[in-house]
């Protein structure tokens, strides 16, 4: 695998992970603040 492809794959993964985190964050917030302490 070329380094450019690897870089593209890592960036795509980070993008998906960050967007998934927005959804996960919403559901985590609904569980209350103990999640964060």
């Amino acid at each position: 695998m070329t380094s450019a492809l690897k870089r593209a794959a890592r960036i795509a993964f980070t993008f998906v992970m960050m967007n998934y985190s927005a959804l996960a964050g919403l559901f985590a917030l609904r569980r209350g603040r103990k999640v964060w302490k």
Binding site: R10, T14, F15, N19, A22, G25, L26, L29, W36
Partner: protein, 364 residues
């Protein structure tokens, strides 16, 4: 269903391309420069407030960094220990004995309450917020404070420099985070140039003490709520790129995901804490807030909608079929990225320690 598809595509493209283009044009056509700098002898006094829990190992070096920064005005350093159970008091005893810092110990209640205690004890005209892990550059205090010569400025945020930006990170997601963080800072720089940023970087920002209002205990994004309260009152919060703090990138996707989850949950929470943010004439940066912060919360839903609708409509048109194939390829690439992350992941003791709420939430 076609309308849903195109509306979602529009939302994604607007958030990531349209809004930045609008912002770039706005900043070019109608910038509002900040009048910086004080006359000799008139620099405002500052209180540096650092909230930490169980950071005994880092605090002596961090305090030394803060004490050694050049600054013409007077400064005080207040370290708030948020229920620390390590050797925080002993680690800072030397600094306390010679009056270099004040250590305030409070029961573990989270970063917001620790910050409330620190600011309540502060006497400076400006409060500079700092975290234990980062280091400030030499010009940080002077560069931040200089913005407050402008009577419209209520806050100034510094620039967090991540090691992945310079290619020095060993993080498995350094490529992605580096691209994202440069993009995010570009937005903040331009938002500050036209009026105000939409928050601050918790690791390095300053606020007029008179603008501080105690934070609710459950606050997740103290560095967004406190500055945005000032913005809602008509003040500017500006981006100061000469004030930098250095930090490391999260070592892997799992660590970054935890941080992002907390940050994005905080973005939802803040809408409940300050609903005026969503009211056009009550929020001077309403369009920017909607486009940047609320847009980021909507994009995941839009991505899901685009994927589902293009799959459902793929048989009806080449356009939908092509859109579906392109997304499938992109998500396939992301799966490869996930595999690379898992393959390259290395345990890092420094990050494996559970970070308290008092730790930085950057990079957002």
């Amino acid at each position: 269903m076609g309308i849903l598809f195109w509306a979602s595509v529009f939302a994604i493209v607007y958030v990531y391309v349209g809004y930045p283009a609008l912002l770039a044009a706005w900043a070019r056509l109608a910038p509002r420069p900040v009048n910086k700098g004080f006359a000799a002898g008139s620099w405002p006094s500052i209180s540096i407030v650092l909230a930490a829990r169980n950071e005994a190992a880092r605090l002596p070096g961090r305090v030394a960094n803060l004490l050694n920064l050049p600054y013409e005005g007077s400064r005080e350093i207040i370290v708030v220990s948020d229920g620390s159970t390590d050797q925080t008091r002993a680690a800072l005893a030397g600094y306390c004995e010679r009056g270099a810092i004040r250590l305030i110990e409070v029961p573990a209640g989270g970063k917001p309450l620790a910050l409330n205690a620190g600011v309540a004890a502060a006497t400076g005209e400006l409060i500079v917020f700092a975290d234990a892990r980062q280091r400030f550059c030499d010009r940080a205090l002077t560069a931040l404070a200089a913005n407050f010569a402008d009577p419209a400025v209520g806050g100034a945020t510094g620039e967090l420099m991540l090691d992945c930006e310079s290619g020095e990170s060993t993080s498995t997601i350094g490529d992605g985070v580096g691209v994202y963080w440069k993009y995010e800072k570009w937005l903040r720089r331009n938002e500050g140039a036209i009026w105000s940023t939409l928050g601050a970087t918790g690791a390095i920002y300053a606020l007029r003490r008179s603008l501080w209002q105690p934070l609710p205990a459950e606050t997740l994004l103290d560095d967004v709520l406190a500055p945005m309260r000032a913005v809602l009152s008509g003040w500017r919060v500006v981006f100061e790129e000469e004030a930098t703090a250095e930090d490391r990138t999260a070592p892997d996707a799992a660590a970054e995901a935890r941080r992002k989850r907390r940050t994005l949950a905080g973005n939802y929470q803040i809408l409940a804490q300050a609903p005026r943010l969503l009211v056009p004439f009550a929020n001077p940066v309403w369009l920017q807030y909607l486009s940047h912060k609320v847009g980021r919360l909507l994009v995941p839903w839009a991505l899901l909608t685009v994927f589902a609708t293009s799959a459902a409509l793929a048989a009806t048109s080449w356009t939908y079929a092509a859109a579906f194939v392109a997304q499938a390829a992109f998500y396939g690439l992301a799966v490869v990225g996930a595999w690379l992350d898992a393959r390259d992941r290395q345990p890092d003791e420094r990050f494996q320690r559970k970070l308290p709420v008092a730790a930085s939430k950057e990079a957002r």
